[in-house]
Amino acid sequence: MARKKTNGPEISTAVSPEDSASASPPSPDRPLGPLSLPPLPPTHDIVKVNTMNAVELKNACNDALKRYLSRPGLFKQSYQHTDVRLALGWLSVFVAGGTGLYGYKVEFEQSKPVVWVGLILYMLLTFTQTLYAYFIEGDIVFVGKRKTFSKRIITERITLTSRTCPVSFPPKSATVSKPTDKSIPPQYALALSYVRSTSANKSLLAKGKTQAVAPYSQFFDADGKMDVAVFERWVGELVEEGMDGKDK
C-alpha cells in the first residue's frame, strides 16, 4: 500500500503525509516499526517469576518491554525520570546521614538548630520526590526517542505507561448466573503515546495514542517462564498501531 513519490504529473492530490493526524495509509516517511526488525536471538537469561506475585509479573513485563524497545534500530531510552528520582533520593539520604552524624558528635542541646534544619530539608526533599513521582512520573515505564533520516531528520518520541489490572469478576446478571462465569485473571494494561515530527519539532507528522490489555497468562506459563517472543510481538503490534497514528 506504499505510495510512490517518483511520479511526475500523476501525483495524486490525496492526503499528503504531513496532513495525517489519524488513521491513514502508511506514508513512505514512516520509519521502521519494531515488527519489521528481525527478532534478535535471546541475549538474556530465561525470565522466571513467581506467578502468584503480581508485582514480579509486572516488573518482568516492564523489563522485557524496556529491553525490546531500546535495542539498536529502535528507540533510545530517556532516563530523565529515573535520574531525578535517584538524585532526589540519594540527596535526601546524604542529608539524613549528615544530620545523624552531626547529632551523634555534638551534644543534644547544642545540636538542636542544625538538626532542625536537616529535618526540614529532608522533609522538603521527600515531599518533592513524592510529588514528582505522583504527578509527573505516574505510571510511565519507558520514554524513548529516535532520529531517522529519510530526506530530512525525523524525530519520534514514544512514552509507555503500564499498570496491573487486578483480578476482576464479570458483573453478575440479575436473572441468570452461569456456573461458567469465571473471574478474569490479573491483566497487564499497556498504554502508549507516540509523536513523529520533523527535526526540532517544526511540523507534526503523526501522532497516536493506543492502549491494550492482556492477561498475564498470555505471556507466562504455569511455571512462571516468560514467553518473550509472544510478549514482544504483542508490544510490537501496539507500537506499530501507534506509529500509524491511530487513536484508541
Partner: protein
C-alpha cells in the same frame, strides 16, 4: 544455594542497582529522621530507653522499654520517675524523685533533685559522683509510659554483637534483591 539470587544481582545494571540500594538506604534514612524528629518533639536526647537493672522493681524490670519526654518548662515533682545522667558516668539511671528544691537563679526556674531507686535501700547521693543534688540539666527526661519485655532485643544485641551484624546483613541482602 543462592544461585538464583546471585543471578538476579548480576542482571542488574548500574541504574537498577542504585535504585535498589536507594530502597535500603532510604529506609534507614527515614528511620533515622523519625528518631531525630522524635528527639526534637520530646526535647529529649533519648526518648526511648531500656531498663538495665532491677533497682526500680516492682515498677520496672530489666528489659522494659520506657518512653520519656522532657518539656523545657516542666518542673519535676516528688514521685516522678526520671532518667538522669551524671556527668562522670555514661549510663543513664532510672529512679524516682525523692526531694525537690525549687529556686530562681538569674531569671530561670531551677530545681535541685534527689532521687532513689524503689528497690534500693539508700538514696542516690553516692551515685552523683560528688554532687549533693541533681540539677535540672542532668535530667534526660520523665517517664510517661512503658512496654514490658520488648527491651530484651536491645540487651541481646548488645551482649551478642554478632546478632546485630547478622540482622543488619540479612536486612541489607533482602532489600537489595527485592523490588517494589
Amino acid at each position: 544455594m543462592f544461585s538464583r539470587e546471585l543471578k538476579a544481582l548480576r542482571r542488574l545494571d548500574p541504574r537498577q542497582f542504585l535504585l535498589q540500594a536507594l530502597n535500603y538506604a532510604g529506609g534507614m534514612a527515614t528511620t533515622l529522621m523519625f528518631w531525630h524528629a522524635l528527639c526534637l518533639a520530646t526535647n529529649c536526647e533519648s526518648p526511648v530507653v531500656v531498663v538495665l537493672s532491677g533497682s526500680m522493681e516492682p515498677a520496672f524490670y530489666r528489659g522494659d522499654l520506657i518512653f520519656l519526654t522532657n518539656p523545657a518548662s516542666e518542673r519535676y515533682h516528688i514521685g516522678d520517675i526520671t532518667v538522669y545522667k551524671v556527668p562522670s558516668q555514661d549510663i543513664p539511671i532510672v529512679h524516682r524523685v525523692l526531694e525537690t528544691h525549687d529556686f530562681f537563679d538569674s531569671g530561670v526556674d531551677q530545681q535541685l533533685l534527689l532521687t532513689k531507686g524503689d528497690n534500693n535501700p539508700v538514696d542516690d547521693t553516692q551515685l552523683y559522683g560528688g554532687l549533693e543534688y541533681l540539677e535540672r540539666k542532668h535530667i534526660v527526661g520523665k517517664v510517661r509510659g512503658f512496654l514490658p519485655y520488648i527491651g530484651y532485643v536491645t540487651i541481646a544485641m548488645n551482649d551478642f554483637p554478632r546478632l546485630k551484624y547478622a540482622l543488619l546483613g540479612g536486612l541489607g541482602l533482602l532489600g537489595l534483591l527485592q523490588r517494589e
